[in-house]
């Protein structure tokens, strides 16, 4: 009898373990399934269009009866412009905030800033989009002319949206620099600022790089907010004018969301193919992050 | 005729990875007596204690060699670990009540062993808390968080929690080292009461304590059981030079 109970208990414990293993496996399964389905739905396009043409043609007319075009270069360019500018704006501000939080801010102000970063991270992207449409776009329009719905507006909104990511991860990586470094630097008569730039930042370098890469991923993957402010024109940006910043642009994500509701046939396939490109971008960044953070142990914070 | 012991270990060796922590321990523990294990820090006495209810199983790198008999049954072969821990309870160095009420703390053990009836639980809880001599102090706050009790009360509560599972051996790993003298005195009194019903093995740093409360004493050094005997013999008539040195304070 006793033996039976023991056996039952053992099986029970074992089955719970496997049940939990299944829970833990869901995430991994999801990644594999996502990869599989995205590729399965998007790859057939290459039966008709060569990858080179897909990536480097600027001719996008997927639903045309005669001579349809499946070139997404304008969208890749759009994504790159918008993301780069967002990083140019967001990274300095974000890192400055992170230094401020980790090293300088004390008491109430630090508390407030930290709450602000948290709340900023939680604001839905459509609210950012709405703010962009009603505040940023009119300002850009008044300053630069045109409609205001362009790459610049999109970058500004994205810059705001990636701030929390950059701030919180950079802050943690600065904080996790061993205290001894700082003390040693002070001991040599360095000022606080010299210590920050010459000791803390270099020591926290990989964490900050991780923060920037994460921010990049977020910016490339963001859909709704840029969709609402960046104009959505499926043409190459006009680099002659303000380096394309005043051009209305369409990014990879926008291309997917714009047509998905009605596209069919090859057009629809081409949208999934677009998502393959996006997916590869993101996965590359993801693997980079994991590679960098493996050493520094900050992935818990991301 | 071979004498019966509550717990016997034969040629017990224990390794943490490549490091040997216990070397050929042979020890016999008498029924319903208090056995004290003494020795300098890192000598293996706590590690030894933890092999007796297989707490070391929780550490992946531990390898054990040799046999431990509990009532003449090999605990590493013929015993279910859960059953074993039910019979051989353990009290730790720092009082660690769970973050729940006093009542729930004591009832936790019975509950995990399948007792669900409220009346039964009530009586077990009351009996155990009384046996742990802390009833007068907590009777009116059974349903308040146990973390609100004083350190000494918490430790006796932890003892009550062990008693509630109705073990017949209690292992104590320096149960008073984190407590004030008054609480320590109370626990020592309690041990004297408990030994009527339970076999107790206690690890202690405090030699006076070992001398006061135990019937038998074992002295460990560098993972080796140097000497084992009645407390009187160990303290006043040690056979080994090293025991004598330690007792007289030369090891600090």
């Amino acid at each position: 009898m006793n033996l039976d109970r023991k056996k039952i208990r053992k099986y029970y414990e074992q089955s719970i373990k496997y049940l939990l293993l299944v829970c833990a496996g869901v995430g991994a399964a999801a990644v594999l399934f996502i990869t599989f389905f995205i590729f399965q739905s998007g790859a057939p396009l290459f039966g008709q269009v060569s990858p080179i043409e897909f990536l480097f043609s600027t001719h996008w007319e997927p639903s045309a009866e005669v001579d349809p075009g499946f070139g997404i270069l304008p969208f890749i360019t759009g994504s790159i412009i918008v993301t780069t500018l967002a990083l140019l704006i967001g990274v300095p501000v974000g890192i400055a905030c992170a230094i401020y939080l980790a090293e300088i801010a004390k008491g109430r102000f630090a508390e407030i800033l930290r709450r602000v970063v948290e709340v900023l991270a939680g604001i839905p992207s459509v609210v950012f989009g709405l703010f962009g449409m009603t505040v940023i776009c009119p300002i850009v329009r008044d300053v630069l002319g045109g409609t205001g719905y362009n790459a610049l507006s999109g970058s500004i909104i994205l810059a705001i949206m990636i701030l929390p990511t950059i701030i919180s991860i950079s802050e943690i990586s600065i904080r996790t620099v061993p205290h001894g470094y700082k003390v040693a630097s002070f001991g040599l008569g360095a000022t606080h600022w010299q210590t920050i730039t010459k000791v803390l930042l270099p020591a926290a370098r990989s964490g900050i790089i991780a923060a920037i890469i994460l921010g990049t991923g977020r910016a490339i993957g963001e859909t709704m907010a840029v969709y609402m402010v960046a104009g959505n024109t499926p043409l190459m940006p006009n680099f002659g004018e303000w380096l394309g910043l005043t051009s209305s642009v369409r990014t990879l994500t926008m291309n997917i969301i714009t047509d998905m509701s009605y596209a069919s046939g090859m057009h629809r396939t081409a949208l999934f193919t677009t998502s393959i490109v996006l997916f590869i971008f993101i996965m590359t960044l993801n693997v980079l992050i994991q590679f960098i953070t493996r050493k520094t142990k900050i992935h818990e914070a991301t | 005729m071979k004498k019966n012991y509550k717990i016997r270990t034969e040629k017990l060796n224990l390794f943490y990875g490549d490091v040997q922590a216990l070397v050929d321990i042979n020890m016999n523990v008498e029924y319903n007596r208090i056995t004290a294990l003494i020795g300098p820090s890192g000598c293996g006495k706590s590690t030894y204690l933890r092999t007796l209810n297989r707490m070391n199983d929780l550490i992946a790198s531990v390898k054990i060699d040799g046999t431990v008999y509990y009532d003449d049954t090999d605990i590493y072969k013929d015993y279910d670990v859960i059953e074993l821990r039910k019979r051989i309870g353990m009290v730790f160095q720092k009082p660690n009540p769970f973050p729940m009420s006093v009542y729930d703390n004591v009832a936790y053990g019975p509950r995990v062993h399948g007792i669900r009836k409220k009346e039964e639980l009530d009586s077990i809880v009351e009996k155990s808390i009384k046996a742990a001599a802390v009833w007068d102090e907590v009777a009116d706050r059974l349903h308040q968080p146990a973390l609100g009790l004083s350190g000494g009360q918490q430790q006796r509560l932890c003892i009550a929690r062990v008693l509630a599972v109705e073990p017949d051996v209690i292992l104590m790993d320096e149960p008073t080292s984190a407590l004030d003298p008054i609480s320590t005195a109370k626990i020592e009194d309690l041990l004297d009461q408990l030994k009527k019903k339970y076999t107790i093995i206690i690890v202690t740093h405090n030699m006076q304590q070992a001398g006061r409360i135990s019937d038998y004493t074992g002295f460990f050094l560098n993972g080796i059981l140097i000497e084992m005997g009645t407390t009187k013999d160990i303290f006043f008539n040690p056979q080994d030079k090293r025991t004598e040195d330690y007792i007289s304070g030369r090891f600090g």
């Binding site: 991994a28 996502i34 604001i123 998905m260 993101i282 960044l285 | 973050p99």
Partner: protein, 551 residues
């Protein structure tokens, strides 16, 4: 030696200065971040609660209950509406739209309510005047219009019909006022008329509309050239009716305010014909008269006036009414409920999965290859953008498994999205449960699972909750994935497969389909309030957890 010391001293000074500047820059960056957040939240919430719009109307910004049909005050009338209509005033153009059937719903009141027009029949002199002067030659009553014989009947009918509007003689105002089921509304019926040259395009400039203060400046004589009021270079010639005419009195009251004087160098006229001939003879001339008259005779010469409309936006009725006409009118009640359903379902699915995974990683898993790769993929999941999740959900849940665009497809997708958040936070809090608790529990003979359920989870609850709450925040704000899997039907979801619009999607559609920015702001405000609540609760929980672990 001395020189070196001086050099060092100088260098130190320089370093100090650099430090000061650098700190100021950092402080500025921090300040900018705070300002941006306050700006975003403040802007959205302010516009969410207060609809502060500048709109252009072909009539002036104010009006009274007594409406003059022509320049003369021979015939005036008073408009009444049924109490069900949430509106206090209308413009003369609205009246025309209603009676001609151009507008059939009370959209202007943000209500989904049919407009029921009542008119006095032609035998009554007012009825005749109304049809001639308000509707004019080319227009006629809408087919649903109901005729009544006299004022008494009109009041009774309007009182009895939901969404009704009608008009009565001013003498019967008291009667209408005494009836609790009808209310008298103000009508803005005076309009500005100007010489055609005023509307010309010169030097790429054109007068689009007048601001209220500009209109006042023109008629009180403070502005002399149209350029001063954003027009072209043209001298202003104000033309006024004699001050003893009723229309002049009304204009003075509504357009200028009582304390203002009319311009001294204005041209005065005392009838409609003179007014129009003076205006049409003088370039830059501007005057005022009844909108109904102008609309019928000189519609191209009406000067639009800007009006600032400050009204409460997010009201209780917005929260509790159903959306109608794609959210243009009505409220968001069903959308809020849909959002709640989505959150509940997501929590029900994601919490056990996420916590289960976290328990596996912290309590069961070793450091094997399998576990490492599981962790790697879970981390990766966190970095995948929501639109990819959306596509995946669409491919797999909607198409492949045939769950249709609906609650189940949507929540399954979101569950995958929030899983990393829940796992990560739960893992953190499980890890922070003291090792001793585990040992104690094992020592009492508890199995691993009993230890997990009995001690570890109860201790880790605040942390687990934090993760769940953060996940709720993410789910509430998510749009791209939701749009591709959950559908956007604004009606209440009836089962797991019905398409359901949630707040974020509603906001997106309101803003991008050009339905209504005001409503988008109101919806955005609800979202922000939810996020702030989520955030505060999470922060409090984390604080509580930290305190507990310190104790």
């Amino acid at each position: 030696m001395k020189q070196r010391k001086a050099k060092i001293l100088q260098y130190t000074k320089k370093a100090r200065r650099a430090q000061k500047t650098a700190k100021t820059v950092l402080w500025l960056a921090a300040g900018v971040t705070i300002v941006i957040l306050v700006w975003i939240i403040g802007y959205v919430v302010y516009n969410g609660f207060v609809s502060d719009l500048h709109r252009e109307y072909p009539v002036i910004a104010k009006g009274g209950p007594e409406v003059i049909l022509d320049w003369q005050a021979e015939q005036t009338l008073v408009f009444i509406v049924n109490n069900s209509v949430r509106i206090e005033e209308l413009s003369a153009q609205d009246i025309i739209d209603f009676y001609c059937g151009e507008v059939r719903d009370w959209v202007i009141a943000k209500q989904d309510l049919k407009v029921k027009t009542f008119a006095l029949d032609m035998t009554a002199s007012l009825g005749k005047a109304f049809s001639e002067k308000v509707l004019g030659k080319h227009l006629s009553y809408n087919s649903n219009n109901r005729f009544v014989e006299n004022d008494e009947e009109m009041i009774k009918k309007v009182a009895a019909t939901i969404g009704a509007i009608g008009f009565i003689n001013p003498e019967k105002m008291e009667r209408a006022r005494n009836n609790p089921k009808v209310k008298i509304i103000n009508v803005r019926a005076i309009a500005l008329v100007a010489h055609p040259a005023v509307f010309e395009i010169r030097n790429q400039k054109k007068l689009r509309y007048l601001k209220e203060e500009d209109m006042r400046a023109i008629f009180s004589g403070n502005a002399h050239n149209w350029q001063e009021v954003n027009g072209i270079d043209l001298h202003i010639v104000p033309v006024l009716f004699n001050e003893d005419l009723a229309i002049a009195k009304q204009f003075k009251q509504f357009a200028l305010g009582d304390d203002k004087r009319f311009s001294l160098n204005a041209v005065h006229v005392d009838n409609q014909t003179d007014l129009m001939s003076v205006i049409n003879r003088n370039e830059g001339a501007v005057g005022f008269t009844s909108y109904f008259y102008l609309k019928n005779h000189f519609p191209d010469q009406i000067v639009k006036v800007e009006r600032r409309e400050v009204t409460p936006n997010l009201t209780l009725s917005y929260l509790i009414e159903e959306p109608k006409k794609f959210g243009k009118v009505g409220g968001v009640s069903t959308i809020i409920l849909n959002t709640v359903f989505m959150i509940l379902l997501t929590v029900i699915m994601a919490t056990p999965l996420g916590v289960g995974a976290a328990i596996f990683f912290t309590e069961y898993a070793g450091e094997g290859r399998l576990v490492r790769s599981l962790r790697f993929f879970t981390e990766t999941l966190a970095g995948i953008p929501s639109i990819i999740f959306g596509l995946f959900g669409m491919l797999v849940f909607v198409d492949f498994l045939g769950l249709k665009f609906g609650l189940l497809s949507g929540t399954l997708t979101i569950t995958l999205m929030v899983l990393p958040t829940i796992i990560r936070t739960a893992e953190e809090s499980l890890k922070s449960v003291p090792r001793a608790y585990r040992e104690e529990s094992f020592a009492l003979g508890a199995t691993r699972w009993q230890t997990v359920c009995g001690v570890i989870i109860p201790t880790a609850v605040p942390g687990i909750l934090t993760g769940v709450i953060l996940a709720i925040g993410r789910a509430v704000g998510e749009t791209a994935a939701v749009i591709l899997t959950l559908g956007n039907s604004p009606t209440l979801a009836r089962n797991l497969f019905s398409s359901a619009r949630v707040l974020s999607v509603h906001l997106y559609l309101l803003a991008t389909e050009g339905i209504s920015f005001e409503r988008a702001f109101a919806t955005g405000t609800i979202l922000i309030v939810i996020i702030l609540i989520v955030n505060t609760v999470a922060t409090q929980l984390i604080k509580k957890m930290n305190k507990m672990h310190k104790a």
